[in-house]
C-alpha cells in the first residue's frame, strides 16, 4: 500500500492482534458478554438496539460469551434477525488510515466473509441512500439515461466468484521483508461472490456509439474517484454489482453499486458508482497518471497496468504463527488476473526442491484458489515458499527476477514468491529469499 500523506481523520490504532495466537480473555470482557447474552435473550425490538451497541463493545474487548458447563443441559440462545459469528472468534481486519487488511492467515476456503473483505478508500466510506442513488450513463451513447437501483436489479442478473486485489497489495515488500504476518504482506486481496448486471447489457440499453472505446467510471464518494476503463478488454466480464456473498454490498465495498472488472486492480473497480461516461480516449485522471502507474528504473512509468498477475501466498503456517512438530498441512491461496490457476508448487527448503500442491475445487478463473500440501515438520529450520502458474503458462516470479526487471520504485503490482522462515523453536517469520 502506497503511503499517501493525506490529512486523514485519525483513528485509534488497532489493538487487534494481527496473528492468530490464543486470545486472552479479561474479566471485563466476560462481563460485557454477559450483557450481550442478556440482550440476546430479549425481544426482537430490543435486538435492534443491541445491534447498534454490541459491535462497539466487541471492538474494545473481544471476548467469549458465558459458557455453560454442559450445553446439553441448558436451553440455547433464541433466533436472531441478523446473525453474528461465535463470540470466541477473533479474526479482524487490520485498519490503517485509508485501508484495512484481510486476515488471510485465519480464513478457510476461498470466500472472504464480507465483514473481513479488505478496504481501500480515498476519502472515507460514504453513506448513500439506495432509494436516491442514480447511475448516469452518457457521452458517446445513443441517448443519456439514468438508472435507479431498482432498474438495475430488474435487468437479467449475473453472479460469479472473483478476487479483488489492490494494486498496492504487498507494496511494502519491494525493499525489505516488512510485513510480519500474511495479513500485513498480502491482506489487500479478498474473494467474494458478486452479483449484478453485465455492463454490456446496460450499455446495449443506452446504445453504445461505434467510436466509444473508453469509459470513465466515477464514484459518489468524497474523492469522486474516477478511472478510465478501455471497453474492449472488459466487455465480456465487467459487472455492475449490487450484491456480495448473497446480500447487498457492504458500504465499504461500494454500497449500493460498484464496478467489478474481474482480474483487474481493485482501484479500477469503482465503488459507489454514480456515472459512466463513454469517450474515445482515456480521460487521464489523477489516479491513472500520478498514482497507479508503475515507475521503472529508467524513470519511465507504465500506465494502465490493470491486470493483477499470478500470485500466491502460504497462509498457514505464516508469519506470527507457531508450529508444533509432526503433521502440518501447509495451506495457502493462489490467484491470477489472467484466468485459472493451473498449478501451485510448494518448497520447504527455500526453493531448492519444489513439489506440486493439491488444488481444492472449485478452481475458478480470476478467483482465489485454495491449495494444500501435507508436510511433516521435524523441528528443523525451514523456508516455506509457494509459486503458482496460470492457464496462460505464466509462473509467479522470484523476488530476485521481479526486482531485476522493475527495480524498487514501481510501488504497485508486486507479485513475487513469498518466503516464511520456520525457526527451530517453531516460530514463523517473514524472510525474503
Amino acid at each position: 500500500m502506497k503511503k499517501e500523506g493525506m490529512a486523514e481523520p485519525q483513528r485509534e490504532p488497532s489493538r487487534n492482534s494481527p496473528d492468530n495466537k490464543e486470545p486472552t480473555r479479561s474479566s471485563k470482557g466476560i462481563a460485557l458478554d454477559r450483557r450481550k447474552f442478556l440482550t440476546a435473550a430479549a425481544s426482537l425490538v430490543g435486538m435492534a438496539a443491541a445491534q447498534a451497541v454490541i459491535p462497539s463493545l466487541h471492538a474494545e474487548a473481544p471476548s467469549s460469551p458465558p459458557v455453560p458447563d454442559d450445553p446439553t443441559r441448558v436451553p440455547g440462545a433464541p433466533p436472531t434477525p441478523y446473525g453474528q459469528r461465535a463470540g470466541f472468534e477473533q479474526a479482524t481486519r487490520l485498519p490503517g488510515t485509508s485501508h484495512s487488511l484481510t486476515p488471510l492467515q485465519t480464513l478457510h476456503g476461498i470466500v472472504t466473509p464480507a465483514a473481513l473483505h479488505f478496504e481501500r478508500h480515498h476519502n472515507g466510506v460514504p453513506t448513500i441512500d439506495p432509494a436516491r442513488h442514480r447511475l448516469l450513463i452518457h457521452g458517446l451513447v445513443g441517448r443519456s439515461r439514468t438508472f435507479t437501483m431498482d432498474d438495475l436489479k430488474r435487468f437479467p442478473a449475473v453472479s460469479r466468484l472473483a478476487f479483488i486485489e489492490c494494486a498496492g497489495n504487498s507494496a511494502g515488500e519491494w525493499r525489505e521483508a516488512r510485513g510480519q504476518t500474511a495479513q500485513q504482506t498480502h491482506g489487500l486481496t479478498s474473494t467474494s461472490e458478486w452479483t449484478g448486471v453485465a455492463l454490456a447489457t446496460v450499455l446495449r440499453e443506452v446504445g453504445l456509439k461505434l467510436e466509444a472505446t473508453w469509459m470513465l467510471a466515477e464514484g459518489s464518494d468524497a474523492a469522486a474517484m474516477t478511472r478510465s476503463i478501455p471497453l474492449a478488454p472488459v466487455m465480456d466480464e465487467a459487472l455492475l454489482c449490487y450484491a456480495q456473498n448473497g446480500e447487498a454490498l457492504r458500504p465499504e465495498q461500494g454500497y449500493p453499486l460498484r464496478l467489478l472488472l474481474p482480474g483487474w486492480e481493485g482501484n479500477a473497480c469503482i465503488k459507489w458508482l454514480r456515472r459512466l461516461k463513454l469517450g474515445n480516449a482515456p480521460f487521464m485522471t489523477r489516479e491513472e497518471t500520478s498514482h497507479y502507474t508503475d515507475l521503472m528504473p529508467n524513470g519511465i512509468a507504465r500506465q494502465f497496468t490493470f491486470v493483477m498477475e499470478a500470485k500466491s501466498v502460504i497462509t498457514a503456517p505464516s508469519g506470527g504463527q507457531q508450529l508444533r512438530a509432526g503433521f502440518v498441512e501447509i495451506r495457502g491461496l493462489a490467484w491470477s488476473g489472467r484466468g485459472r490457476v493451473t498449478k501451485v508448487e510448494v518448497s520447504t527448503d527455500g526453493g531448492r526442491i519444489w513439489r506440486g500442491a493439491r488444488l481444492q475445487e472449485p478452481v475458478l478463473p480470476k478467483c482465489h484458489t485454495r491449495f494444500r500440501f501435507p508436510w511433516q515438520w521435524k523441528g528443523r529450520e525451514a523456508i516455506l515458499m509457494s509459486r503458482c502458474t496460470d492457464e496462460t503458462g505464466y509462473m509467479q516470479p522470484s523476488r530476485e527476477d521481479l526486482i531485476a526487471v522493475r527495480g524498487f520504485n514501481s510501488v504497485y503490482h508486486y507479485n513475487a514468491i513469498q518466503s516464511w522462515k520456520v525457526a527451530r523453536d517453531g516460530s514463523v517469520s517473514n524472510d525474503q529469499v
Binding site: A7, H138, R145, R204, G299, I300, A301, V405
Partner: protein
C-alpha cells in the same frame, strides 16, 4: 500528444477483442432491450459531468493568477501540503525534477504529472480534503496556476483559464508507456 495517445489506445485495445467485434459496437437502438431507466435531462448531465479531459473539454469559464493562487493555497491547502507545497505531510506537489530514475524518486506535479488539465479536474473534484468541491472555478484556476508556477512550468504573470491551461506542456508528458507485462516470468 495525439500520437502517444493512440499508441496507448492500440496497446490497451490489444488486450481484448475490439468492441466492434463483440456485437455491442453495432449501436443497437436505444431502449430496444429492457425498457429500463429513463432519459437523462440536460440539467442532470450538466450537474454531474465534472471531468476535464486532456484537451480541456469540461473546463468551466473563469480564470486565476499565480498571485491569487498563493492566497488560496495558504488558506486552504498549506495546512496539509506545507507552505510551499513541499513540506507535506500530504502529497508533495513541488520539485523533484530529475529524480524519477534515481533510487529515491520524488513524484510531484512538476516532476511526474503528464497533463496540466488533470490538476484542475482533481483539485475541483477532491480537494480540499475536508471540503471537496467547495472551491469556485476562479479559485481552482488560481491554485493550479500557483502550483504550476512553483514548479517552474509557467511564469509568474501567467493566467490560467479554459484556453491557456490545456496548452501548458508538462515536463513529464512523455514519461509514460503502456503496460508491457508479462515482463517477468518464473523458471
Amino acid at each position: 500528444m495525439i500520437k502517444c495517445r493512440s499508441h496507448l489506445l492500440a496497446a490497451v485495445g490489444g488486450l481484448g477483442v475490439l468492441v466492434a467485434c463483440t456485437g455491442s459496437g453495432e449501436a443497437p437502438q436505444e431502449g430496444s432491450g429492457y425498457g429500463l431507466g429513463r432519459p437523462a435531462t440536460e440539467a442532470q448531465v450538466k450537474a454531474w459531468d465534472i471531468d476535464v479531459s486532456p484537451t480541456g473539454e469540461g473546463l468551466p469559464p473563469g480564470r486565476g493568477t499565480v498571485e491569487e493562487g498563493g492566497k488560496v493555497f495558504a488558506a486552504k491547502c498549506a495546512s496539509c501540503h506545507g507552505p510551499t507545497g513541499v513540506e507535506g505531510p500530504a502529497d508533495r506537489l513541488v520539485g523533484g525534477r530529475g529524480t524519477l530514475a534515481t533510487a529515491k524518486p520524488i513524484k510531484t506535479v512538476g516532476s511526474y504529472w503528464p497533463y496540466s488539465t488533470t490538476l484542475y479536474d482533481y483539485i475541483h473534484r477532491a480537494m480540499p480534503y475536508n471540503t471537496p468541491q467547495s472551491l469556485k472555478p476562479d479559485e481552482v484556476y488560481a491554485v493550479v496556476a500557483w502550483i504550476l508556477h512553483r514548479n517552474g512550468i509557467i511564469p509568474e504573470d501567467a493566467v490560467m483559464d479554459a484556453t491557456t491551461l490545456p496548452g501548458v506542456q508538462m515536463p513529464n508528458r512523455r514519461g509514460f508507456l503502456p503496460d508491457s507485462r508479462p515482463d517477468v516470468k518464473g523458471e
